[in-house]
């Protein structure tokens, strides 16, 4: 059996707030694995711990307890510089608000991770990534000169330019209209089809439904984990009962 891309075991993130009984357990004992090439959605209400989980999976934050292995490597105890290197080489981020750097062209934005990784011929690789998302003709444009969908495509190009094993997306279609959102989602799925593991945190159930597998969270715990269609249908049914 091959090494899973994601291996998470009894992961906890506890925010101390004065005394022990006031502590907030944002992530409270989560375990799951995701194989290479999987597409995984994370759904749940606001405050269920989705964002905290995403930050830990993205190596932006450290768990207070538990094991997190990315591509077979323990990352929960690494120092800041090692985490930066992991983010640079193994993870691509796609944010709801694009987070392109202003006053830099699309190409320069895409090139940035390669520069931090000291990769040679970064210009050429960045141009290739931009071509992959269909924006080769926009390479000299600054973010202010691009539409929302184009900005998100540039952001996706930036995320995949270092050929990471995983794309972490936080509401990737949240700031886009449904047509553009659909196009961006299709792009993400086609990248996933080429072997990159895809993790998408979303409120949008139609987005969740187009993935292969969905995890539903509540109060820092996983309450459902299975094929997307089943979990989403059960979720809709339980929402309907509650109202």
């Amino acid at each position: 059996m091959t090494t899973p891309t994601l291996f998470v075991d009894k992961l906890e993130k506890v925010y101390e707030a004065g005394s022990a009984d006031l502590a907030v357990r944002a992530v409270d004992g989560i375990s799951f694995t995701a194989q290479k090439g999987e597409s995984l959605g994370v759904i749940g209400p606001s405050g269920c711990g989705k964002s905290t989980l995403l930050n830990i999976l993205g190596c932006l934050d450290r768990p207070t307890a538990g094991t997190y292995r990315l591509d077979g490597r323990d990352v929960q105890d690494l120092d800041d510089d090692d985490l930066a290197a992991i983010r640079n080489k193994h993870i691509g981020f796609v944010f709801q608000s694009f987070n392109l750097l202003p006053r830099m062209t699309a190409l320069e934005n895409v090139e940035l991770p390669l520069l931090y990784g000291s990769v040679k011929s970064s210009r050429k690789l960045a141009a290739e990534a931009l071509a992959r998302v269909g924006l080769a003709d926009r390479s000299k444009h600054q973010p202010t000169e691009l539409s929302g969908g184009q900005k998100q495509r540039v952001a996706i190009a930036r995320a995949l330019v270092t050929r990471p094993s995983m794309l972490l997306c936080d509401e990737p279609t949240g700031a886009l209209d449904s047509k553009t959102g659909r196009d961006v989602l299709d792009l993400l799925l086609s990248i996933n089809a080429e072997g990159t593991t895809l993790v998408v945190v979303t409120h949008d159930l139609s987005v969740a439904r187009s993935l292969r597998r969905v995890i539903q969270m509540r109060d820092g715990r996983i309450v459902a984990d299975g094929p997307a269609a089943e979990v989403v249908s059960a979720f809709i049914a339980s929402e309907a009962r509650a109202s």
Binding site: G58, L60, D80, D81, A84, R87, F95, L115, Y116, G117
Partner: protein, 401 residues
């Protein structure tokens, strides 16, 4: 992280806030400009004094009166201990080639409708050799003129130009404090600066003492030794002789001061050096103010770009990359300000040289110092904000609105 990206990102950030960048640099521009200008003036003064003292020759000793109770400062004119008798006695010492007594005083000059206040110096024939003066035209004052108390004058180059323009002063009658003097010669130009002989009018010493000022004492006795080697012996002998003549007891200090040219040079350098250091340190305060301005703007910039920092961290920037980026930006601002300030300082020094009576020489070390200090200011005041940026939590930075 390659340096070109650091440089490009600094340029983008600075160029996108042109006015702010310029205002931030202004503190550094003014600071380094002031330092460079002050050092230029100080060095110029030092150089002009040095050339003049050197031009007089190494075997020259200068004796000035000095108050016995004085704290070491030379207060010529205030004390009246040197006489022509002293000068005559000194000329008989072994190893002495010539002795040039002089007395100077300020007087009003008048030629036709032109007036000028100048230093009038009473001299004997020995002055030409002792001060290495050369005549541009006419003749110099001789010992015979001194004996006969002649009312003749030889002009310094600046005085001649200011009173006569391009006309020849030879043979004209010049009024000195209302007494008519016949101008018999003009000295060649020696170069501008503090107490330049070009600004003086020379008259026979006896005329100066009896006719113009009614004084018996001297302001200076210059002794020309036969050689540089002899000058140390002559100096010691002159001190012994003068102590004897002035009837000083062993426990009394000298009421005069004998200095060789080297010592004169050292004293003058000390004075100009102290002056330059004083003015320079006042100017340096503005560098600190400039540095605080940079720190202030960098703190604003870090706050404004918190989200950018978060994004950079998310795509793989290490803390040291962020630190370097902001530090580089601060150093660029301070160095650019410093470089512009050096230009400004040069300009100010050149302006002072062309409009004022100053000689200014901006020394090489001033440039290196100004740029070095600018870079140091950038690092010292930039490292705080840069550390603040580097220490940001990426999760918090990414959420920052």
């Amino acid at each position: 992280m390659i340096l070109t990206e650091v440089a490009k990102s600094a340029w983008r950030s600075l160029a996108s806030n042109r006015v702010r960048t310029l205002l931030t640099m202004l503190g550094m521009i003014i600071g380094t400009g002031a330092v460079v200008a002050v050092l230029g003036i100080g060095e110029g003064a030092r150089a002009s004094v040095e050339t003049r003292i050197r031009s007089m020759g190494a075997n020259l000793l200068t004796i000035r009166p000095q108050s016995a109770s004085g704290s070491g400062g030379v207060r010529s004119g205030a004390v009246k201990t040197l006489t022509r008798g002293d000068a005559a006695a000194l000329s008989k010492l072994e190893g002495v080639k010539a002795v040039a007594p002089e007395n100077s005083g300020s007087a009003q000059l008048r030629y036709r409708e032109k007036n000028k206040n100048a230093s009038v110096v009473g001299v004997t024939g020995a002055i030409v050799d002792a001060k290495s003066l050369t005549l541009a035209s006419g003749i110099a004052i001789s010992d015979m003129d001194d004996e006969q108390r002649s009312r003749i004058a030889v002009l310094g180059a600046t005085v001649a130009r200011e009173l006569y323009g391009n006309a020849s002063p030879l043979g004209t009658r010049l009024q000195v404090n209302g007494v008519a003097f016949r101008v018999v010669g003009v000295f060649a130009e020696k170069g501008s600066g503090f107490q330049s002989p070009d600004d003086n009018v020379y008259v026979p010493l006896s005329t100066h003492q009896k006719v113009l000022f009614g004084q018996d004492h001297l302001s200076t006795i210059s002794i020309q030794a036969e050689s540089e080697a002899a000058s140390a012996n002559v100096k010691a002998a002159a001190e012994r002789l003068l102590r004897l003549r002035h009837k000083l007891r062993d426990d009394q200090e000298n009421d005069f001061d004998v200095r060789s040219q080297t010592e004169m040079l050292e004293t003058m350098n000390q004075v100009t050096g102290t002056f330059t250091a004083l003015l320079g340190s006042v100017a340096a305060v503005s560098l600190i103010v400039g540095g605080i301005g940079i720190m202030n703007i960098m703190l604003v910039s870090v706050r404004e770009r918190t989200r950018e920092i978060g994004v950079r961290m998310a795509v793989g920037a290490r803390r040291v990359d962020i630190l370097l980026q902001f530090l580089f930006e601060a150093v660029v601002v301070s160095l650019a300000g410093g470089a512009l300030g050096v230009g400004l300082g040069y300009g100010a020094a050149a302006l002072l040289a062309s409009f004022g009576q100053w000689t200014t020489v901006v020394p090489m070390y001033a440039l290196v110092l100004a740029l070095g200090v600018s870079a140091a200011v950038g690092i010292v005041f930039g490292v705080g904000p840069a550390r603040r940026a580097a220490k940001l939590d990426p999760v918090v930075a990414l959420r920052f609105e």
